[in-house]
Structure formats: C-alpha cells, structure tokens
C-alpha cells in the first residue's frame, strides 16, 4: 500500500502538472476575483474567506478525473484488482496521494493568497487550520466520484456534477471557520465540524469507492 502511494507521488512529480497546475489555478482564480468585484479592500477582506475556500475547492476538483482514469486506461487497475491489495486500500491511498499533491500545497500557499485578498490578521491561522482539516475530505469525496465515473469517457463534467453537491457541507463549515476567525468570533465549532466531516468521509468513502470500482471493472 505504501508502494502505491510512493508510485503515485513519483508519477505526479515526473508527469508534471501534478503539483503545479492546481496551485497555478488557485493563484489565477484568486487574482481574478478583485477584477470582478472591484479593488476596495474592505469588500475584499469581507469575502476573502469564502473566495479562498472556493478557490481551494475548485483547484481540488481540477485534478480529480485523473485519480483512477490513467490506471484504468493502461490496464493497471485490472492488475491491481487481482493483486493482494484490497481496492478499499487502493481508494484510500489514491485519495491520500491526491491530497498530498493537491490539498497540501494549497494549504501552504493559502496565506500568501490571503494577503492578496486582504484577509484580516486573525484569519490566517484559521484559514490554514480549516484547509488542513477540510481538504482531505475534498480528496476522499473526489476519489469516490472518480471511482463512480472511471468507466465514462470524458467523464470530467459528470464528475463535477456529482462531486460539487457533496462538497457543500465541507465548504460551508470551512469558509465559516475562516469568516468567524477573521472577525474574532467563535471559530472552533465550525472547525470541529470540518474535522468531523473529514473523519467521516475518510471512514466511509474508501469502501463506497471500492465498490464502485468493482462494478466498473467487471
């Protein structure tokens, strides 16, 4: 199982675009917001928590369709399914690899983008904390969606349609944590709820993803 993770990380580095692409998307998305909303710093700092969370969420979404698609196309998925590694373990490792290549870099650059949007001082810690706790849920939900649509040609759009409604609670609690933290209100409750969603997703969704993979392989 560790071998799967190592392989996926190596592939992400060698294939290029693994780490960089979603980061670049996050940056561009955040840069475009003031062009649409206007440069008033008061407005920007009001909407910064939501925009940052939304940007991270969409950046995660970008690379979801690659989670199982490449292994499906070159036949690796068939071979792994007949190997001693359980598909549940594969789904969990794929989600983890997606988080390391996408979620974690987003967490690390988010404070810089917070500066661009004039996020108030106390918000930065809450931003990073909520993203660290919340992005694993985005990866786990995404891996489930990717498993559902792995047999669909050009399934990217369908994948977004399936996954985005499932992202709603994570987004609500994540953005609320930052918004409350930035204005000095109680941010711990939504943060704990973000953590709860992540733990629940990690516990249940690898099993759902594995059953979807089995259906798609047969």
């Amino acid at each position: 199982m560790i071998g799967l993770l190592k392989r996926d990380l190596t592939l992400a580095i060698r294939a290029g675009g693994g780490f960089g692409l979603s980061l670049a998307f996050f940056l561009i998305f955040t840069t475009l917001v003031p062009f649409g909303v206007g440069p008033q710093t008061a407005i920007l700092s009001d909407i910064a928590p939501g925009i940052l969370w939304l940007g991270a969420l969409l950046a995660c979404l970008l690379s979801l369709d690659r989670i199982f698609q490449l292994d499906w196309e070159d036949g690796t998925l068939d071979l792994i399914a007949t190997s001693p590694v359980p598909l549940e373990g594969l789904a969990a490792m794929k989600a983890l690899a997606h988080w390391i290549t996408t979620g974690l870099p987003l967490v690390l650059v988010s404070p810089v983008l917070g500066l661009l949007l004039n996020l108030p001082g106390p918000g930065y810690l809450w931003l990073m904390a909520s993203l660290v706790l919340g992005t694993p849920a985005l990866s786990a939900i995404g891996a489930f969606g990717a498993a559902l649509t792995v047999g669909v040609k050009r399934g990217g759009l369908l994948l977004s349609l399936l996954v985005l409604p499932l992202y709603v609670p994570t987004l609500i609690f994540g953005a609320l944590t930052v918004a409350r933290g930035a204005t000095g209100q109680d941010a711990l409750t939504p943060l704990i709820l973000v953590g709860g969603i992540t733990l629940g997703s990690l516990a249940i969704l690898p099993f759902a993803a594995a059953s979807a993979l089995r259906v798609n392989l047969r």
Binding site: G3, T10, T82, P84
Partner: protein
C-alpha cells in the same frame, strides 16, 4: 490440482458468452485456450481472474493463486523498467526481481522509462511482472503479441521453468509455444452467445 473449473458460464455485460466450460489444470501443466476471435477467451480469463463474476458453475482455486495478464500492459510510462518491477514486487509482497529481469533479458533496459520503449520491449516487461508476483497459476491473454521469435522463445522458456517448479498456466494464444506438458482446449463448443440467463427482462418470444 491448482485450478479446477466446473460447468462455468461466463457473461460480458448483458450477454452470456460461454456455458458449460469444465477443465482442470494440475501443477506443472499448461492449458492452451484456442478459439476464433470474439469466441470469449478474454471473458473466460477475466472470469478466472475474479474480475467478472461467473454466471454459473464453480472455479476452484486458491483466491491468491492467480496472476492475471491482460491485453493491456499495465505499465507506467513515466517509471523506469526497474521501478515498474519494484512497484509490482511491493504490491505482491517483496520478491527479488532479479530472476524476472534475467528471464526476459531486461538488464540493458533497466534504467529506460517504459514510455520510451517499443511495444515488444513493453510486453517483455509486462510478462516479467508475472515472475515477480510469485503466484502459481498464470492466466495469460495473448501474451506473445508484438514479441519477436527470440523473445517468444524466452517467454516459452520462462513458462517451462514456471511449470517445472510446480506452477501452472492458462494461456490464450494462437501460436505454438512448444511447451512440454500442454493440453489444448478449443472453446468453440462452449460458445453460447445469447442474452444472459439471469436477465429477467429477456422473455421467450412465441
């Protein structure tokens, strides 16, 4: 007995493909599957490998005994030959890839990335994976595609060694590998192309 199949019926999607397939493969024995294109060799092998559930009948084999090799090579083009082999060695529990490298003469290619190799070289690597799995029953789907004569001989030698060590193999192929103890099974008599028997919407007409 490494693998015994009794009265097996296989399906692909909504269609039943084969019915009444029975055979047994003893240790040291190879079974060559023959049949025209589209007869259902791939479906049979996928059913044996446990990817597709059988419609009827039984497959008696240790679930961890079967190593499956499909049409697709299952290689990662960004990884080198060595990395590909080590990955599969890790997946199947650590085994020394050296015999696999020697058997398919991969030593000069070890640091090449799979994406830079020819189709035949990729096939050799994908067959070498079988040795790394350490599993006794090989289920192989057209293993010699894009191999030249020299490498077909290497492959036949690898299978012979595998059989001599008590392994067995089920191979769908059209060429003669010259294996010592091989039985040939023509699957044409088992072909039963019709709508699958468990489809409740297929009603007998008139």
């Amino acid at each position: 007995m490494n693998l015994r199949v009794t009265d097996l019926a296989c399906a692909r999607g909504p269609a039943q493909i084969l019915a009444g397939v029975s055979f047994a493969v003893a240790p040291g024995q190879a079974l060559i599957l023959r049949g025209p294109n589209g007869a259902g060799k791939t479906t049979l092998l996928r059913t044996l490998a446990g990817l597709t559930p059988p419609l009827a009948g039984t497959i008696e084999a240790d679930p961890d005994a079967i190593a499956y090799a499909a049409h697709a090579d299952g290689l990662k083009s960004q990884l080198t030959v060595m990395e590909n082999l080590l990955f599969w060695a890790g997946v199947f529990g650590t085994r020394d890839p050296a015999p696999a490298i020697a058997a398919f003469h991969l030593t000069p290619l070890l640091d090449r990335r799979a994406g830079e190799m020819s189709a035949g070289q990729k096939r050799r690597l994908s067959l070498a994976r079988l040795l790394v799995t350490g599993r006794p029953v090989w289920c192989l789907d057209e293993p010699t595609v894009s191999l030249d004569a020299e490498n077909v001989a290497r492959f036949a030698a690898a299978v012979t060694t595998h059989l001599a060590a008590g392994g067995s193999a089920v191979i769908a192929t059209h060429i003669d590998l010259g294996l010592p103890d091989a039985t040939t099974l023509d699957i044409t008599p088992f072909v039963a192309k019709r709508i699958r028997t468990d489809d409740p919407f297929a009603e007998r007409m008139g």
